[in-house]
Amino acid sequence: MRLFKNKFFVIALAIALVLTTCTTVLSVMGVASPLRSVLGAVALPFRWCAAKVAQGLAGFSAYFTEFDRLREENSELSREVAELRQRLADAERMAEENAALREFFGLESLEVEWELVDAVVIGREAGGYMAVYTLNRGSLHGIERGMAVVSADGVVGYVKETGISWCKVVPITETTSALGAHIEKSGISGLVVGDFELRDRGRCKMTYIENGEGLSPGDFVVTSGTGGIYPAGLPVGVVEEVVPDPLSRTYTATIIPAADFDNLTRVMIITSYSITKADETQHTEEESLP
């Protein structure tokens, strides 16, 4: 082995091995190495600019290639808006009825209070085999490992690793992600997990559903609040199809995530949340008014 008699080769190889081992171990622990933190902070403005340029390029090409699809989607959305307006009117009526009944029976209404930090997606994982997003918020902004990340549409994922001014987020479509959820309409619960094959189509799946007969395509899936990461009631997605699993005698549903992962640019990180009585909140607000 003449190669190992070369002093430069041996020293450089040793340094490369140390760097590889240290970075891997710290990454698995969910802790950013000081080098990783500093580099992430230095590169932050450049990555932000590059992300903007890349998003602009993607949008520019989509302008020419996706015209027909967008026109079709537009007409579909118009139909959906009309339908949702009707549902909103129904929901408002039901909310009023609900409030009246709560008052009549003396029930307490619970409200979830959030503390949110807004963030911009500045990076996506460089290898392509795993979708992980980098956000421009880190430990300086109070971000910790295990915090939930949401978009305007629904649940995005959870914080996997934090640096000084950045953090990495694992989306719900990833195989390493799992969250407790239930069907909004029927209350049927299950576990929403990522799947490598479904991820390519921008989907995830809901497993361990015991009563699959009560499920139908179009049902809304929301977080159940179990697990401690995601608060209950956050929109996860919509059921696309339900298939029985003959081995476990349970059902598996394919979920279309509520969050638009293809065009994800702005998200919110839930730094803390608490469940309070709605009456107390109103009372506090009234007290603070002049």
């Binding site: 430069f8 080769f9 450089a12 190889l13 340094i15 490369a16 091995l17 760097l19 590889t20 970075t23 891997t24 990454s27 698995v28 190495s33 080098l35 990783r36 580099l39 992430g40 590169a43 450049f46 990555r47 590059a50 992300a51 340029v53 890349a54 998003q55 390029l57 993607a58 090409s61 989509a62 990076g123 996506r124 994982e125 460089a126 290898g127 392509g128 085999y129 795993m130 979708a131 992980v132 980098t134 990495k168 195989t175 390493t176 490598f196 094959e197 390519d200 293809d262």
Partner: protein
């Protein structure tokens, strides 16, 4: 008599090389980590940094290539890595071995680098495969090959050409003279 202690003092030429290669690699890292924002690169990303490290080794020297590859690999993993951090090792290997073959087995010329480019693309494929299985052992091999590994290999071959050209120009700009290259080859 006490031996004379020699301190390392960077020369202006060395500082110029560090600046040029550093800037080039930094921007390639930023580009590589931002490429997945474009839909066609969602599943596979070309190994631009690896190609550049190999090209530095090829057109400059194995020492420059190895150090550039190692540093750039560390920075790449710091910004874009997820689980297993193999980029420093891969960068070091690409830079060192491409530098070793240059001038001995292959002429230090742009067309000859195509052999190294193919080797680097294969190395990038291997690194992606290992990292993918380290991140998730339940991956289905066929899908991984079809959707990630093969596109990654061909993207690296394709987008590696302009990167190699750019690195070649940077190596020229870095002021590596013909005499210096001959001296490196003789060593």
């Amino acid at each position: 008599m006490r031996p004379k202690v020699r301190f390392f003092t960077p020369t202006a030429a060395l500082l110029r090389r560090i600046t040029i290669y550093g800037t080039l690699l930094f921007f390639l890292i930023i580009i590589q980590t931002s490429l997945p924002f474009i839909p066609i690169f969602r599943r596979a990303v070309p190994g631009l940094v690896l190609v550049s490290a190999a090209a530095i080794g090829f057109f400059d020297s194995e020492y420059a290539g190895a150090i550039a590859g190692m540093v750039a690999g560390t920075a790449l993993d710091a910004l874009g890595g997820v689980s297993l951090s193999l980029a420093p090792l891969a960068g070091f290997a690409a830079g060192y071995f491409c530098g070793t073959v240059a001038g001995k087995k292959l002429p230090r010329e742009l067309p000859a680098f195509s052999v190294c480019l193919a080797a680097v693309s294969a190395l990038n494929l291997f690194v992606t495969l290992v990292c993918a299985y380290a991140a998730n052992s339940e991956l289905r091999p066929v899908r991984l090959i079809v959707y990630t590994l093969l596109p990654g290999f061909f993207y690296t071959l394709l987008f590696g050409i302009p990167v190699a050209l750019l690195t070649f120009l940077c190596a020229r700009l870095a002021g590596k003279t013909k005499r210096e290259r001959q001296a490196t080859a003789e060593r």
